[in-house]
């Protein structure tokens, strides 16, 4: 079945058993993103620690409603960025974004993207790319706000 490339086992597992779901305290910033074409919504909170190059993502928590692709992608986001430096997290964000917007032409880096390589098939379904990116865009937004807030807070 051709659908296998879209609905890979890893994606369905993350959808049915999401990792890190639910909004948690503490957090420095949150972002709420919607997909206007289908009404899906996602709220992402980030909790950062450290300063300068050592800023770490202590936690990424999220809640929302949406299709299997958007929910699984949020679960993978949690796995890939929580506990990593912000620099690493942004590198992964960039690689994931590149993979999804690559129209199926991008060879994913498995060391960097881990479970997220399963989303390679989504890139061939243009109508679903936005679903996969929803939580990741919200994460980037929230992380940017959190760092801006902390930069503004230190004299």
């Amino acid at each position: 079945m051709q659908l296998d490339s879209l609905y890979q086992e890893i994606i369905l597992d993350h959808y049915k058993h999401p990792h890190g779901r639910g909004l948690r305290d503490p957090f420095e910033a949150e972002a709420h993103h919607v997909n206007p074409t289908c009404g899906d919504e996602m709220t992402v909170r980030v909790h950062l620690s450290g300063e300068g190059d050592d800023v770490r993502v202590e936690d990424v928590s999220y809640d929302g409603m949406g299709c299997s692709i958007s929910q699984a992608s949020a679960s993978v986001l949690h796995d890939l960025v929580a506990g990593h430096t912000l620099t690493d997290a942004f590198a992964r964000h960039e690689a994931f974004n590149e993979l999804l917007t690559g129209r199926g032409q991008v060879e994913p880096d498995e060391d960097l993207l881990e479970d997220a390589v399963a989303f390679a098939g989504v890139a061939r379904y243009p109508a679903r790319v936005k679903c996969a990116l929803l939580s990741w865009m919200a994460f980037k937004d929230a992380a940017a706000r959190a760092t801006a807030a902390s930069a503004g807070g230190t004299p």
Binding site: L3, C38, M65, I69
Partner: protein, 441 residues
């Protein structure tokens, strides 16, 4: 072209759930109709196309496609401004289409038909007419603080947002009919909702999500009693059954060509002649004027006043061909065919465990648009799996987010039927839903 036939259908339809079979109902042979639509023989990944998204846009029959080609190949020119032969032919074709469409909806005169690019533009045009101030504005179109506009919770965004914008501009208040749990318009507070402060009531004749066909006589009577105007969004009604503007007794009716076998880019605003004449212009430009001076301009009478610039000429002519096609089948026959298909589909879908239908569950006072939820599976995923089997449905909020919100869901899966839909296609939908269950449990 397809002939209208009478007598029992041949496609194996069985009456179910108490749906009586009336031998004297006008009918057509659906297989002959399907043969008129080239796209229906397409395959999607090896599966025959099962197109259940006609509420989104309908497919186009051969006569419409041929008309577009022959217009461009043999008669193409701009309208209403050329003295040459082609210009005359193009103008005759364009105005001929206007006359056909006027007859199709029972208008008193072709001049009551304004061509727009779609229903959204038609409704924006009317909403815009209420935004002018000044003593020379007809009092029926003067709107300000204290005045009220009434819509419903069942509207497409195109009949919500223009009124929200208008009320923001003018300080008027926007009010709306609610929806009952059964998916019907809640008119229990009609006399309070539509009152002396109401300037216009604008609502949908057939819901694009729930399929509900809304009542008109009591609402129109009440609106006119208090001096308000009435507009119907008939985008989902005109394609599917007989509509007569005089019978309805309303003031404006908006619909779109692409949902009724016509091309995209052509819509219609019907308005009572006397009202169109009283309305200020909408878009300014060529062909909508009487005289232009640098100090100011005067305007052409309706409908030209509302058709600035080069209109969608071939599209209007194509819509005329679509109207001819539908008329040849008979709109009563179209309605009856869809009623049978809807009854069959409602029966089949209600038997699926965990499937909830939004809107009327009986094929009465509703059209052939069925939105549903499948427990635990998001509509995006339903639509994706169905597509893999060649079944095309709409997923999302269907541009009617408040309707979805009323039933507590962000999105729905919507199957919508038309004159070419068969019971075999409903069976394919049901099989597809089985595949969704298999994948998502």
């Amino acid at each position: 072209m397809t002939e209208v036939t009478s007598g029992p259908r041949t496609s194996g339809w069985q009456p179910r759930s108490g749906m009586p079979q009336y031998a004297d109902r006008p009918r057509f042979d659906v297989e002959k109709v399907r043969a008129d639509f080239p796209i229906l023989s397409r395959e999607i990944d090896g599966h025959p196309l099962v197109y259940l998204d006609s509420a989104n846009t309908s497919q186009k029959p051969r006569p419409v496609l041929d008309t577009l080609t022959s217009f461009y190949e043999g008669h193409n020119a701009n309208v209403a401004r050329a003295v040459h032969t082609l210009g005359t032919e193009a103008t005759e074709a364009y105005e001929g289409a206007r006359a056909k469409i006027a007859r199709f909806v029972g208008a008193n005169a072709p001049g009551e038909i304004v061509f727009t690019k779609n229903s959204s533009e038609a409704m924006n045009l009317v909403a815009y007419s209420f935004g002018h101030q000044g003593a020379d504005v007809d009092p029926r179109f003067r709107l300000g603080p204290g005045d009220e506009v009434v819509i419903s919770e069942m509207e497409h965004h195109s009949n919500i947002v223009p009124w929200q914008l208008l009320c923001q501009r003018t300080g008027a208040t926007l009010r709306w009919f609610g929806i009952t749990d059964e998916g019907r318009l809640d008119t229990s507070a009609l006399d309070e909702l539509v009152n002396e402060r109401t300037k216009i009531v604008s609502y949908v004749l057939q819901s694009n999500i729930l399929g509900t066909i809304n009542p008109t006589s009591a609402i129109v009577a009440r609106a006119h009693e208090v001096g308000a105007l009435v507009m119907l969004d008939a985008s989902q009604a005109v394609p599917h059954g007989p509509v007569d503007v005089v019978d309805l007794g309303v003031d404006f009716l908006a619909f779109t060509g692409h949902k009724m076998c016509g091309p995209t880019g052509i819509g219609v605003l019907w308005g009572r002649a006397e009202l169109l004449d009283a309305m200020p212009p909408f878009l300014g430009g060529g062909e909508m004027i009487e005289t232009v001076r640098m100090e100011g301009s005067t305007f052409a009478p309706a409908p030209a006043r509302f058709e600035a610039g080069t209109p969608p000429i071939a599209q209007a002519v194509g819509l005329g061909a679509a109207v001819d096609y539908l008329t040849s089948l008979g709109m009563d026959a179209v309605r009856w065919h869809e009623k049978e298909i809807t009854a069959y589909a409602l029966d089949a879908l209600t038997e699926i465990p965990g499937l909830t239908i939004f809107g009327p569950a009986v094929p009465v006072g509703r059209g052939g648009t069925i939105s549903f939820a499948l427990d635990g599976v998001h509509p995006h995923d339903v639509g994706q799996v169905l597509d893999a089997e060649g079944v095309a449905v709409r997923v999302g909020h269907g541009c009617a987010r408040p309707t979805c919100a009323r039933f507590g869901v962000p999105a729905v899966t919507r199957a919508s039927f038309y004159l070419y839909t068969t019971t075999e296609e409903i069976d394919a939908l049901v099989r597809g839903i089985g595949s969704v269950r298999k994948l998502f449990g």
